[in-house]
C-alpha cells in the first residue's frame, strides 16, 4: 500500500476534490479460499477461491443452479439458517475470518448488507421505519442521528426526493422500483462496507432497472458491491469485474471487459455468447 502525504497548503476545495476522485483500488475486500458448501449431501459450491476487490462492482453470472446465490449467501452467512448446511474453507472480510471460532454472524451482517431479489420492505412499517429499523434494533437511540441517517440513506438510494414528503406512509404504497431502492436505503443505513445484491432488478421494469443500475454506479464509490445477475447485459454494463460460475465451480474471474471480449475458458465463452444457460 502506498501512503500519500497530503501537502498542508491545499485549499479545502482541493482536499474535497482529492477525496472524491475515484481511485482505482486494487485492495481486496473479501478473500475467499477453497470454499465448499453442502446442503445435506448436495455439494453446491466446490473449491471456490476468489479475491473480491474493494469499492468496485463484482458481478456473479452463471446458469440457474450454478451456486451463485449460495455463494452470495455464504458471504454474510445467511445460508447458516438452513439446518443442513455445511461449510469448509475460508472467507476473510478485510482480513477477518468470518467462519472463524470467534466470528459472530450478527456482527458480520452489520458489515455486509444485502438486497434481495424480490423487494421486501417490511409491509407493516412506514418508509422511515423501514430505513431506520436496522439502527433502532441494534441499539441506536439518538433521534438527531437517526434523522440525519434517514435522509442520508434515502439520498444515497436516490429515493429522497420521491418520498421526503411522505416518510410516514406505508412502505407498500411505493412502486416496485421504489420499494427496491427503499430496501437499498435500509441496507446502507447501517453503514456496511459491502453490499450484496441478489438479482436486485430481476422483478423490475426496464426503467426501474436502469435507475437501480445508475444507483449501483454511485454506490460503488463507498461500498464494495457483489451482484448476482441473470442478465448478461446488466453484468457487462454495471460491473467492473465478473465471475462466471458453472455447476458450483468458479470457472473464470477477471475484469468484466476481458471476460466479455476475450474469455479464456471455453465454457465462459459459450455461456456469454448464449450457447447454453
Amino acid at each position: 500500500m502506498i501512503t500519500v502525504q497530503m501537502p498542508q497548503d491545499l485549499t479545502s476545495v482541493d482536499k474535497e476534490l482529492l477525496t472524491i476522485t475515484p481511485i482505482k483500488s486494487p485492495q481486496t475486500a473479501i478473500q475467499v479460499r477453497d470454499l465448499n458448501v453442502w446442503f445435506g449431501n448436495h455439494h453446491v459450491l466446490k473449491n471456490v477461491s476468489i479475491d473480491i476487490p474493494e469499492k468496485a462492482v463484482t458481478a456473479i453470472i452463471g446458469p440457474s443452479g450454478c451456486g451463485k446465490s449460495t455463494f452470495l449467501r455464504s458471504l454474510n452467512r445467511l445460508h447458516d439458517l438452513q439446518p443442513n448446511a455445511r461449510v469448509t474453507g475460508q472467507v476473510r472480510l478485510f482480513g477477518d475470518d468470518i467462519y472463524g471460532p470467534k466470528a459472530d454472524p450478527t456482527l458480520l451482517r452489520r458489515r455486509i448488507g444485502m438486497v434481495f431479489q424480490k423487494s421486501n420492505p417490511f409491509p407493516h412499517m412506514s418508509i422511515e421505519e423501514n430505513v431506520l429499523i436496522g439502527l433502532r434494533l441494534t441499539g441506536v437511540k439518538n433521534q438527531a442521528f437517526l434523522k440525519k441517517r434517514l435522509e442520508q440513506a434515502l439520498k444515497m438510494a436516490a429515493l429522497w426526493d420521491e418520498v421526503k414528503d411522505r416518510l410516514h406512509a406505508s412502505a407498500t404504497s411505493l412502486s416496485g422500483g421504489q420499494q427496491q431502492r427503499l430496501c437499498i436505503a435500509r441496507a446502507i443505513a447501517v453503514e456496511p462496507k459491502v453490499l450484496l445484491m441478489d438479482e436486485p432488478a430481476s422483478a423490475l421494469d426496464p426503467l426501474a432497472t436502469a435507475k437501480i443500475e445508475d444507483l449501483i454506479q454511485d454506490l460503488k464509490q463507498q461500498f464494495t458491491i457483489v451482484i448476482v445477475t441473470h442478465n448478461m447485459q446488466q453484468a457487462a454494463r454495471a460491473s467492473d469485474y465478473t465471475a462466471f460460475f458453472y455447476m458450483g465451480e468458479l470457472i473464470e474471474f477477471g475484469p468484466t471487459k476481458d471476460i466479455f471480449t476475450k474469455p479464456k475458458n471455453k465454457k465462459t465463452e459459450d455461456y456469454i455468447t448464449g450457447r447454453f444457460g
Binding site: N76, L78, L81, T106, L107, L108, R109, R110, R111, G113, M114, F116, K118, N120, F122, P123, H124, I133, G134, L137, T138, C183, R186, A187, V190
Partner: protein, 261 residues
C-alpha cells in the same frame, strides 16, 4: 333441512334467552350487588366486574406465555420438539376445563389457604395458553422467510427479529386469536367453581374470593328462588351478548384487514 336442524336450536335458545332474560334486565341489574334472599331487585354488577378482572388477569398470564411459546416453537425449536409440543398443546386443548380448575386449586388455593381471583385467573390462563399458542404459531408460519432474512441481513439479532419484526407483522392475526381465547374463557364456569369461588359483594382484591358472571348464573340457576332464576337468565343473556359481540368484532376487523390488503 340440515341447515334448519342446525340453526333451529340456536334460534330457539336465543329466543328463549331474550324472552326470559330481558324480564330481569334493568339498570339495577348492571349497577347493584345481589340483594339478600327474599328482597326483590339487586343486580350482578360485582360479577360482571369480577369476570372482567379475572379474565384480564388470565390474559396477563396466558397471552405472553402463549405468544412467546409460539415464537419459540416456530423460530427456534427443532422439528422434533415442535411436534411434541404441538401434540401436547392439542391434547391440553381437549382437557375438560374442570381439570384446570382442580390444578389451579391444588397449586394456588391450597398454597394460599383461600379461594381467590388469582387462582381463577390461573385456571383460565391454562385454557388460554394452547389456544393463543396455536393461532400465533399458525400466523408466524405464514410469514415469508424473506422478511426474517431481511431482518437478519441487517445485523439484527435473531430474537429481536422475531420479537420486533416477525411478530408485529402478524399482529392482527394474533389479536384475533387472543380475542377468541378471551371469548372462550369468559364463559367458563367449571374452572372457577373452586378457584375464584364467587362472592356476593364487591371485591377488587385479587387475593380474595371474587364473583364472576358464569358463577353467578350457576349459583342463581340452582337456587330455589324464582327471582334469582330470572336474574340467572338475564346474566346468561349478558354473557351471550358479550361473547357474540367479541366474535362479531373479530369478524368485522378481520374482514376489514383482508379487504385492505
Amino acid at each position: 333441512m340440515t341447515a334448519l336442524i342446525t340453526v333451529l336450536p340456536l334460534v330457539l335458545v336465543l329466543w328463549h334467552l331474550i324472552n326470559a332474560g330481558t324480564k330481569a334486565l334493568d339498570l339495577a341489574f348492571f349497577t347493584q350487588t345481589p340483594k339478600p334472599v327474599g328482597e326483590p331487585g339487586g343486580g350482578i354488577a360485582n360479577a360482571i366486574v369480577g369476570s372482567f378482572m379475572i379474565v384480564a388477569m388470565a390474559s396477563l398470564f396466558g397471552v405472553p406465555v402463549g405468544i412467546l411459546g409460539a415464537a419459540f416453537l416456530s423460530e427456534y425449536a427443532p422439528p422434533k420438539l415442535r411436534n411434541i409440543v404441538r401434540f401436547t398443546s392439542d391434547t391440553l386443548n381437549g382437557v375438560p376445563s374442570i381439570v384446570w380448575g382442580i390444578l389451579a386449586y391444588a397449586l394456588i388455593v391450597v398454597t394460599m389457604g383461600r379461594f381467590s381471583a388469582i387462582a381463577g385467573a390461573v385456571a383460565l390462563a391454562f385454557i388460554m395458553i394452547p389456544l393463543v399458542m396455536r393461532t400465533t404459531e399458525e400466523m408466524l408460519n405464514t410469514v415469508p422467510s424473506t422478511y426474517k432474512e431481511a431482518g437478519l441481513a441487517l445485523g439484527i439479532p435473531k430474537w429481536k427479529t422475531t420479537l420486533f419484526i416477525t411478530l408485529p407483522l402478524v399482529k392482527n392475526g394474533i389479536v384475533t386469536g387472543v380475542l377468541l381465547a378471551v371469548a372462550r374463557v369468559f364463559g367458563e364456569t367449571a374452572p372457577l367453581l373452586f378457584t375464584a369461588f364467587g362472592n356476593q359483594f364487591w371485591n377488587f382484591n385479587p387475593t380474595q374470593p371474587t364473583a364472576a358472571l358464569p358463577l353467578q348464573i350457576f349459583a342463581y340457576a340452582i337456587s330455589p328462588y324464582e327471582d334469582w332464576h330470572r336474574q340467572a337468565w338475564a346474566g346468561a343473556l349478558v354473557l351471550l351478548v358479550f361473547v357474540l359481540g367479541v366474535n362479531v368484532t373479530i369478524r368485522i376487523a378481520t374482514n376489514q384487514v383482508s379487504t385492505k390488503e
